[in-house]
Point group: C2
Chain length 236, copies 2
C-alpha cells in the first residue's frame, strides 16, 4: 500500500539526491551501504541496489566493489544535447516551417569527401543545399553530401514535406554519428542564402552519420548566430 505513488527505488533515489542537495552529503563523502538503506527503508536489497545503480549511471555516485559508495567528485553537466530535426524543432515551438531547395545534384567526390563517406575518389554522390525557414525567417542552411548506397532515391524526395534528416533516418537508421559545434563565418553564398552579412558569426554544426556498414551522409548546418542558440538545462 504505497501512500506515495512513487516507486520505492525512486524514493530511495530522491532521498539520496536530497541528502546531496541539502549538503548533508558532500562530494567524496561515503553513502550508506545497501545493507543499511535496506534496513532503513524496509526494502529488499535488489530494490535499493537498483536505486544506487541508477544514481551511479547518472554520474552522481561512484561505486567501488568491496569498498563502498561515495558521492561523485564532479557532477557531470550533461543534458542530452539533442541534435534534432529542424522541422520538428520549429513545429514544436508552434511556428511554421518551410524550406527552399537551392541545389540538388550529383557530383563527383573529391578526395576528402570520398574519404569521409568511405568511397573511392571520384565516386558519384548526391549533394543538396537548402535553407530552412521559421515563420518565413531563414534559420538554417543545410549543405549535405549523401552516399547513394544509403539512400538511392534521395534526389526524388519532396523536401517541402520531408527534411533530409527525416528521410535519411527512415531509409538508413542511424547507428553512429560524429559531430562538431563551432563558431565560424558563413561563406559568401551561405550568407546570401541566409540573408545575413558575411561578417555575421554563425553556429556551424558538422555532422557525419553512419548507418550499419555505410557512412550515410555528411552535413554542414549553418545557423545565424543572432537567431539561434543551443540551450540546455542540467539538474542534480
Amino acid at each position: 500500500m504505497p501512500l506515495s505513488p512513487l516507486p520505492a527505488y525512486e524514493q530511495v533515489k530522491a532521498f539520496i539526491k536530497a541528502q546531496i542537495n541539502g549538503g548533508h552529503l558532500r562530494p567524496g563523502d561515503a553513502v550508506p551501504s545497501e545493507a543499511v538503506l535496506q534496513q532503513q527503508f524496509g526494502l529488499s536489497r535488489m530494490t535499493v541496489n537498483r536505486a544506487m545503480t541508477e544514481l551511479a549511471a547518472e554520474g552522481l555516485l561512484t561505486r567501488i566493489r568491496g569498498s563502498g559508495t561515495v558521492v561523485a567528485q564532479w557532477h557531470r553537466i550533461s543534458s542530452t544535447l539533442a541534435v534534432r530535426d529542424i522541422q520538428e524543432e520549429v513545429l514544436e515551438r508552434g511556428h511554421r516551417h518551410s524550406c527552399v531547395v537551392l541545389t540538388l545534384e550529383i557530383v563527383s567526390a573529391d578526395a576528402a569527401l570520398a574519404q569521409a563517406l568511405g568511397l573511392r575518389s571520384g565516386a558519384k554522390v548526391f549533394h543538396s543545399v537548402m535553407v530552412h525557414y521559421e515563420d518565413g525567417v531563414p534559420i538554417q542552411l543545410e549543405d549535405r553530401h549523401v552516399n547513394p548506397a544509403a539512400a538511392p532515391d534521395y534526389l526524388q524526395v519532396d523536401f517541402q514535406t520531408t527534411t533530409p534528416t527525416q528521410y535519411l533516418f527512415q531509409c538508413a537508421p542511424l547507428s553512429e554519428a560524429r559531430y562538431s559545434i563551432e563558431a565560424a563565418l558563413p561563406t559568401k553564398p551561405e550568407a546570401k542564402a541566409l540573408g545575413i552579412k558575411a561578417s555575421e558569426p554563425c553556429l556551424v554544426i558538422t555532422r557525419c552519420t553512419i548507418s550499419g556498414a555505410h557512412v550515410a551522409s555528411q552535413g554542414r548546418l549553418v545557423y545565424p548566430g543572432m537567431r539561434y542558440n543551443l540551450q540546455g538545462n542540467f539538474q542534480l
Copy 2:
C-alpha cells in the same frame, strides 16, 4: 560459469542493439517480449527486464505497458555535452594551462544581474575576468559574477592553481545549471584580451549555476572560434 565475461543482461542488450544495427529491427518494429527473450536466453525475467529497461532509458526502445516494446523512432543524438573545467580539459590534452586574472573586484549588481543571482538590486557581488591559456595561446575568456553567499572567500582564491569552476564546485556543490551556447562576436575588450580581431566569431557559453538554495554564479565563457570547437560522438 560464464564463458564470456559480459554480464547476461549486457549480452541481451548487445543482441538487441545488433538486431537494430543490422537492420533486422527497424524503427517502429516490435521487439520480442520479455517472456520470449527469457525463453531464448534461458534467463529470469528480472535479468531480461533490466536489459530492456536500460535500453529504454538510453532512448533506443520505447516501452508501453500492456502493449509491448518497439524500436524508438528517433535515436537521440546525445553525447554528454561535457561542460567541464577548462584546466582539466587542457591538462587532459597533455598541454600546459595558465591563467591571467584581469579583474577581481566587488561590484553592485544592476537589476538584471541581481535578478539572475536571486539578490536585490544593488547588492554587492564578486566579479572576475580572466583569460585561460593552452600552451601559451589564449583559448578562453571567463567573465563571472559570483554570489558572495555561496563563496565568501572568492576574492582570496589563487587562480593560478585553481579555476573558478573548481573552487565554486568545491564550496558550493552544483545542484542545477542552465546554459546556452551561441555564436557571437566578442566585445572589444574581450577581443583584445584574447588577442583576436573584434570581427572574429566566438563560441559563447553562458552558464548559470545553482547550489541548493543559492544561485551561486553566472558566467560568460568566450572561446575564439578558430581555436576551439565542441566535439561529440554518438553510438548506437
